[in-house]
């Protein structure tokens, strides 16, 4: 009965129904489309960040990595590939150089490629007797393919030059040029048995489709359950690079926000339409009540109707949304490379359908409570005092709405905290909007309308109209304005921020192992080659021997007993690199204490997070063993470091004077054009053979590509949301205009010309739009400010001056949409006023 009633009810209101379906379809298309697009971009990014690591997960240790670890990571299949790295001497004829030797299995790398000259696959190329050598190094020493390199007492024939390899940006550990050999090749040498400092690494490829959170759980289980976890460092591709990781997190947050807001926007559109629908159906509701329907029967009938329409709208929207990535591939191929479009997946489609249905139903509930206000006696009298819905019904509808929004937010964002703050923030905003609208209607009722232009008076009177229509429209419009304006404000700045994540003066080459007496010569060479942004710092390696007099071995042993602190233990015992300087570079900021402020002792400045890992703070005394000499330094300041700058930065910075006399070398960073880099290499090889240039341009370019992709993604999604938002906004603005036909007919009967009617209605819509626009735009600026300053941590720098024009633009848009939607009403003929 409910169903047939619903079908019957839908007769004669086709226009509005089409509107409803369209509104919901757009909302659902936004959600499904964003989800599909994000999945596609994520898939592309995952591939890219996997290429940075060369694997899904990498496990690092100073000891051989036991097969036990495989049990944690490969229960669902997958593959492991072993890598061993060590710094050793390689010699050719008379020349001996420190190189970074990397012994790999044929499956290395799982993702990405080692680019070789001539073109070949590294795994196929390497035999126990061959090696591949950095092209830079070959140029420097004058090696050719086929030449022999002596490593660990064995000879290796050079089979290829290494141009580029997947890997982390890990400059701190890069001491020399790269040489690849096979694991069997390494076994031929005596290097492994000598107990030299080998870094063992196991790379894992996980089955396709493994989720990042599964990987993170597996990582945690290793730290918690594996006895010797303290010796391991486990990294997944998700955290391959702190800079990239943070950007991806920001991106994900932003996308979550975008999708949620579009969803809510669709919901408010639905609510507005249902409200207008019910108010136009008051007479029918009254008739239904007269013939014996209880309010809840009528509610069920309308809900059934809403559900049918919602199903249609959601289906259209979900299908259209899943097509979005395909459209993006065509329009912006650089955003989603071929092969990463996530094809039709049932899951997101069903999720879109479910969300659409849910949102339509929960947002319809509050306006549907108006059914209670329709007294059956309305049938007999044309106007009757509206009856309020029972308090329990109103409260329930509101509760369902809040819980529903929260559930939708949770489904969408998969983050409890985000969903809660989203729902809370939205509730507060809706309250502010409703409160302001209420205050405004009261003000409009009080403001003396005497002497005003009759058109303007009519507009103000429309605001003061008793009932909930104006408040509802203002809230919906205001929310729409919030979504659109905040997206416009945020997406551009977020994109700029992402593109600017790599500073223009990021170094392109690092020079390692420059002896202090060589620096003047090297620096002169750099100037000659047109290098910019050159900086150099002294570096000294030392071991931490005690903290506040307690031996670090003892501290490490204590930590081993605690759970989950394996990493901190490793931090204590590793070889530390120190530098000293009078003033900090601009990417450093003292956050606690003061730099070089205590004349009584030699001071040390620590990077904030590193100090946390060490477990030390201001005033602690750290003793270092510098080649047998104990040196005591007191922590007097903590710093934050912007690692994104790619400058040379250290966890430990000492006061000048404390260490200057100890044997040290210099690290320099400089920015050069690619030709300059090659010339530098040759010059260094000739004059300073011990200095190793490390080119990071390829890595920089990879990072830049990722950031550009993220930035483009943000823009595309922002644009999509703005377009969707504007459409729904237009819908909301016009929903109240749909049933104006009779009013227009009456006005014409009273002698108003068509232009007069246009002026009158336009002013009314413009006033509502102006109010909603003002509040919505203020909220949007506040939200954008908070999001940029506190979530993205970038200076918001908003164009506050645009606030007033925004409100005016909304007023214009509202008037235009309202009039457009009233087009049919405007053509209504005065005779209609006779047909009571």
């Amino acid at each position: 009965m409910v169903l047939s009633g619903a079908v019957r009810e839908s007769r004669g209101a086709r226009g509005r129904l089409v509107f409803f379906v369209l509104c919901l379809a757009l909302g659902v298309a936004a959600v499904t489309g964003v989800a599909a697009l994000v999945a596609s971009i994520e898939s592309a990014l995952r591939a890219q960040s996997r290429e940075l690591l060369g694997a899904d997960v990498s496990v690092d240790s100073r000891r051989a990595i036991p097969a036990e670890i495989d049990g944690f990571l490969l229960p669902g299949g997958g593959e492991r590939s072993d890598v061993r790295e060590l710094t050793t001497l390689a010699s050719h004829a008379e020349v001996s150089r420190l190189v970074e030797l990397k012994a790999v299995a044929p499956s290395f790398p799982f993702y990405g490629q080692v680019t070789l000259e001539p073109r070949a696959r590294l795994g196929e190329l390497l035999t126990p007797l061959t090696c591949a050598v950095s092209r830079d190094f070959m140029g420097e020493v004058g090696l050719a393919l086929g030449d022999t390199l002596r490593i660990g007492g064995q000879e290796f024939s050079i089979a290829a030059a290494v141009v580029d390899e997947p890997g982390r940006l890990d400059i701190a550990f890069t001491l020399g040029p790269r040489v690849f050999v096979s694991l069997e090749g390494l076994a031929r040498t005596k290097l492994e048995t000598f107990g030299s400092r080998i870094r063992y690494r196991a790379l894992y490829r996980l089955p396709e489709g493994t989720r990042e959170d599964w990987t993170q759980r597996a990582k945690r289980r290793i730290t918690e359950e594996y006895a010797d976890a303290a010796y391991l460092r486990v990294e997944s591709h998700g955290d391959a690079q702190p800079t990239v990781r943070r950007s991806i997190e920001r991106f994900a947050n932003f996308l979550g926000l975008v999708a949620l807001l579009s969803l809510i926007l669709g919901g408010t559109g639905v609510a507005q339409i249902v409200r207008a629908w019910i108010s136009a159906r008051t007479q029918s509701v009254a008739v239904l009540r007269v013939i014996g329907f209880r309010p809840r029967d009528v509610l069920a009938m309308y809900l059934g109707n809403v559900a049918l329409l919602a199903l249609a709208g959601s289906m259209i929207g979900a299908l259209a949304g899943s097509l979005l990535p395909f459209a993006v591939v065509v329009a912006a191929p650089e955003l989603i490379p071929k092969g990463h479009t996530v094809a039709w997946e049932l899951g997101p489609l069903l999720q879109g359908l479910g969300l659409g249905l849910g949102v339509a139903l929960i947002f319809s509930l509050p306006p549907l409570t108006a059914i209670w206000r329709v007294a059956p006696v309305r049938v007999l009298r044309s106007t009757v005092e509206p009856l309020p819905a029972p308090r329990s019904v109103t409260v329930c509808a509101l509760l369902v709405l809040i819980v529903g929004v929260f559930a939708a937010a949770w489904t969408q964002a998969q983050q409890l905290a985000l969903a809660a703050s989203f729902t809370g923030g939205l509730a507060v905003l809706a309250l502010v909007l409703a409160g302001s609208a209420k205050a405004l209607t009261m003000l409009a009722a009080r403001v003396p309308r005497t002497g005003l232009d009759p058109y303007l008076r009519h507009g103000i009177a429309a605001l003061a109209r008793p009932g909930v229509g104006v408040i509802g429209a203002t809230v919906a419009l205001g929310l729409g304005v919030l979504v659109v304006v905040s997206m416009v404000l945020i997406d551009e700045r977020l994109a700029t921020r992402l593109r600017g994540a790599l500073p223009a003066d990021a170094p392109s080459v690092f020079l390692v192992d420059v002896q202090p007496d060589q620096w003047d010569g090297v620096a002169a060479k750099l100037v000659e080659l047109g290098a910019t942004a050159t900086q150099s710092v002294p570096v000294l390696t030392a071991r931490l021997s005690s903290i506040n007099g307690v031996d670090v071995k003892e501290l490490a042993a204590r930590r081993a007993d605690d759970e989950g602190v394996g990493r901190q233990r490793w931090v204590l015992t590793r070889e530390q690199r120190l530098t000293w300087m009078r003033e900090l570079p601009k990417d450093n900021r003292v956050v606690e204490g003061a730099l070089w402020s205590d004349p009584r002792c030699f001071e040390l400045s620590l990077e904030q997070k590193f100090a946390e890992d060490l477990g030390v703070g201001l005033g602690d005394l750290l003793t270092f063993d510098v080649q047998g000499v104990p040196i005591e330094l007191t922590v007097t300041s903590l710093r934050s470091v912007e690692w994104e700058s790619f400058g040379i930065n250290f966890f430990l910075v000492a006061e000048p004077g404390a260490l200057d006399a100890a044997p040290h070398f210099l690290i320099a960073a400089s920015r050069l054009e690619p030709e300059g880099e090659l010339a530098l290499q040759r010059a260094l090889a000739a004059d300073f053979p011990n200095v190793s240039p490390v080119r990071i341009r390829p890595i920089l370019e990879k990072l830049l590509a990722i950031f550009s992709r993220l930035a483009l993604g943000v823009r595309v999604l922002g644009l999509f949301t703005v377009v969707t938002g504007l459409t729904i906004l237009a819908g909301v603005a016009s929903s109240s205009a749909v049933h104006r036909g009779r009013e227009v007919a009456l006005l014409k009967t009273l002698g108003l010309t068509r232009l007069g009617v246009v002026r009158l209605l336009g002013l009314e819509f413009a006033l509502v739009g102006f109010v909603a626009g003002t509040i919505g735009a203020c909220a949007a600026f506040a939200l954008a400010y908070a999001f940029l300053e506190f979530v993205v941590e970038t200076p918001a720098d908003l164009p506050w001056i645009a606030l007033a024009p925004t409100a005016l633009a909304v007023a214009l848009l509202s008037a235009a949409c309202g009039l457009a939607a009233s087009a049919r009403a405007l053509t209504s003929r005065p005779i209609e006023s006779l047909r009571g």
Binding site: R381, S382, T383, E385, P386, R449, T450, P454, R457, H458, A461, A462, A464, R465, P466, G467, E743, L746, L747, K748, T749, L750, G751, L752, T753, R754, L755, G756, R829, P830, I831, S833, L834, R835, G836
Partner: protein, 231 residues
């Protein structure tokens, strides 16, 4: 009584297309109404009363025939010209009151006055509301008024710009007998005072009894015209 024709119609016909053939709603209706005359149009449901009223008031266009107000043909005027004509010459009272819900009683009365650019509009509106007994309720919205009160506001609105012709479509149709009688009394009183020509459509003989002439319609044709005891 002034015998100049205020309103005339000649051979007025209205046909509506209805499923392949034409439905004749009005057929060759002709009569004239003198200034300050009160004419009632009577007839059962579906006899074409409201259609005739719509044509006479310029709310609808005839299929053939002419309508003249003060000797000016109105059946061939443009939509906007008709609007302006109504603004100057025509007032309306409807069965279902048709007040604008977002305007107060006073503002509803003011609207046509201001449209017509009448000086002292506010005083006139107040005065009329007092005449219909609503001097205390000028700031109430239609939803806050009873049906009878709404119709009285509608009367004040209709008489506001002193239209030469007033059309009333079943003005008491939605009201109980007592309230209806009171509204009718007010309507007649105002008409008398303002010297307005009134064309009233009704199916209620009691109501029609007040009219000077009664035009009986049946199936789109004028059945008979009867002189009454009224004005």
């Amino acid at each position: 009584m002034n015998t100049t024709a205020r309103l005339e119609c000649h051979d007025l016909s209205k046909r509506l297309p209805s499923g392949g053939h034409e439905l004749v709603v009005l057929e060759r209706v002709s009569f004239a109404v003198a200034a300050e005359e009160f004419v009632a149009i009577l007839g059962p449901s579906g006899s074409g009363k409201s259609t005739l009223l719509g044509l006479l008031a310029g709310l609808d266009r005839p299929s053939s025939g002419q309508v003249l107000i003060d000797g000016q043909r109105i059946d061939d005027l443009s939509e906007d010209a008709l609007s302006l004509l109504r603004r100057r010459k025509v007032g309306f009272v409807f069965q279902s009151f048709q007040l604008l819900g977002n305007l107060t009683a006073l503002e509803n009365v003011l609207l046509p006055l201001e449209l017509a650019g009448v000086g002292g509009a506010r005083e006139r509106a107040r005065e009329l509301l007092e005449q219909v007994g609503l001097g205390e309720r000028t700031h109430h919205y239609p939803a806050q008024l009873s049906g009878g009160e709404q119709q009285r506001v509608a009367l004040a609105r209709a008489f506001g710009p002193r239209p030469p012709v007033l059309f009333a479509d079943e003005p008491t149709g939605n009201l109980d007998a007592a309230t209806g009688a009171r509204v009718l009394e007010l309507l007649a009183g105002l008409r008398e005072r303002e010297g307005t020509t009134l064309v009233l459509v009704t199916h209620d003989r009691e109501v029609a009894r007040l009219a000077g002439r009664r035009i009986h319609l049946r199936a789109g044709l004028v059945e008979r015209i009867e002189q009454g005891a009224g004005a």
